[in-house]
Subunit: 317 residues, 2 copies
Amino acid sequence: MQVGDSSHFGTTVTSSIDTKLSQTFLLTCQSGSMRAAAEALGIEPSSVSRQIAQLEAQVAIKLVERGRRGVRATEAGRLLLQYLHSQKIELETVMSEFDALRGLRRGQVDIALGDGFISDFIGNALAEFSATYPGVTYRLQSGSTAFVEHQLCEDLAHFGLAYNARPNQGLQAKARAGQPLDLLVAPETDWATLPEPISVQALGQIPLALLLPGFGIGALVRDAETHHSIRFQATVESNSIAVLRNFVRARMGGTILPAFVVTSELADGSIMRKTIDLLEFGAADATLLVRPGRRLPEIALKLMDHLCRRMKAMGRG
Amino acid sequence: MQVGDSSHFGTTVTSSIDTKLSQTFLLTCQSGSMRAAAEALGIEPSSVSRQIAQLEAQVAIKLVERGRRGVRATEAGRLLLQYLHSQKIELETVMSEFDALRGLRRGQVDIALGDGFISDFIGNALAEFSATYPGVTYRLQSGSTAFVEHQLCEDLAHFGLAYNARPNQGLQAKARAGQPLDLLVAPETDWATLPEPISVQALGQIPLALLLPGFGIGALVRDAETHHSIRFQATVESNSIAVLRNFVRARMGGTILPAFVVTSELADGSIMRKTIDLLEFGAADATLLVRPGRRLPEIALKLMDHLCRRMKAMGRG
DNA sequence: CGTCTGCGTTGCATTTAGTGCAACGATATC
DNA sequence: GATATCGTTGCACTAAATGCAACGCAGACG
């Protein structure tokens, strides 16, 4: 029995877990295989294997089951993952307090974006915000609405913006802006003189630039086509909002988008909006989602506040 | 503005803090200077300096103020220390759950021991417990009662054993065993026939082996000398309980100790105890202390339970 | 039934980063 | 103002982490 001896133990007791090892372990469990984690980390699979083996030796318990298609966390591994997650949350809190100490001159905000068009919205809203807080890094990940919800539930993003999101899971809508899909056309064209609301039949006569069905908006438009048994003239299909915008400004036809995407063009008069006589287009909205109970960095809160105000300002304008 | 890029940042954003660096930082703040931390870690002061500088670079904020006599944590440093402490607590929880998974075949219990004599008590009580749970490591640190309290308040020990502890601070006494200081003598000697309780005058006639004043018990005895204006015959003074015990068994005289120190000798009849007619000797007790609210590893709880039962069993025996 | 593809693991040569040593600069104390 | 103590920096060196290649293993497929 050893008394007052803190340096010598049976096998080597770790009073703490090495960060590099645990991060590798975390990424491996998330990606499901060592090779995937290795690629993500830009290192060799052998290093991942050794790091995990070393981590297991330190905690003296098996953390992953080596299976046929990759690895799966053991009971102990799940415990450790849970711990690492809580660590990450706590560390974020500390880091945000550091940001506050620095006078908000540094920091990072993770945002999950629904459908591609929102990135344009962010491009505008964020540009303003970024001017106020230079030095802040924004990590934007875009994907489907389901992707946004997943990112939030896993605490991989501080908040998210999604189109037509229903707060099904443990998510809360901080702000919801009615964002009907309108017809956007150039003012000098004949389409600009059509009486509002634009009927479905009239819409069918206009050459349109539409988003691909992979996007929520694109899918919504296609749904309308089938439900009302009409066929739009899709002159252009794209995955880029910029393409649609240029299509309109070139007077080649119209497009169907939420108005806020072209805020600046509406302001300077280069594009005008016209309401469409379709219930499903009018009910669409954009939602700012958060996971309740999560403590966010100060900058993230400020940015959220900024976005909320902006969304409410243009809510139904 | 970067979208979907998570690998490239301004200066290098750390989503987590390197363990080695943070541990060095922690130890440096605790010990008050880099050189002290370096000695404790068995490395050079230059390494400590570099590690802290590196940590500060990673979080991009000054963590310590370099002063004349060592270093002091800055505001940010204190935040980080607080974080590291909570990390340690959470990690201990995880580790204890690992222990549970292993079926309690491994683990570590940190114990703070008041005055040296307690280490003998542990040596006995722990021997039994250790037989039931082999593979468990016990980290025993002994010092003054104040030292024990400090260790507990800083969560450096799971529980503590102290002599004459008053739960002044946020500490709780899990068990308290009356442990009066008795006169211990060999049965075959004349002193064994003295009538109980032994008077102070009679005590003055007996050659005694006493603990050095550095120990709580030793100090208690010396206090009694001054308060009652008597003088004991201190034939032997030592910092070792074993020396005192052997002194008695060699029939050289008596000693003043709590009876539980010589449990086995009392049982086999090689030493006998005699009550002393002194209020301050009778009121002394041993206390098992914990900091309420701290979640302890399962093994620590089991050992505490074991000790509590043992203490109560011999409480006044 | 053998091949083939994916996985994790191991041995060895190389590179990287961490360390020790020594000298230096700064700062309170006497 | 001399001095002792502490943190910092430059440089040579050592130890640890990595990359590369080959291997063992299990399921998929012809």
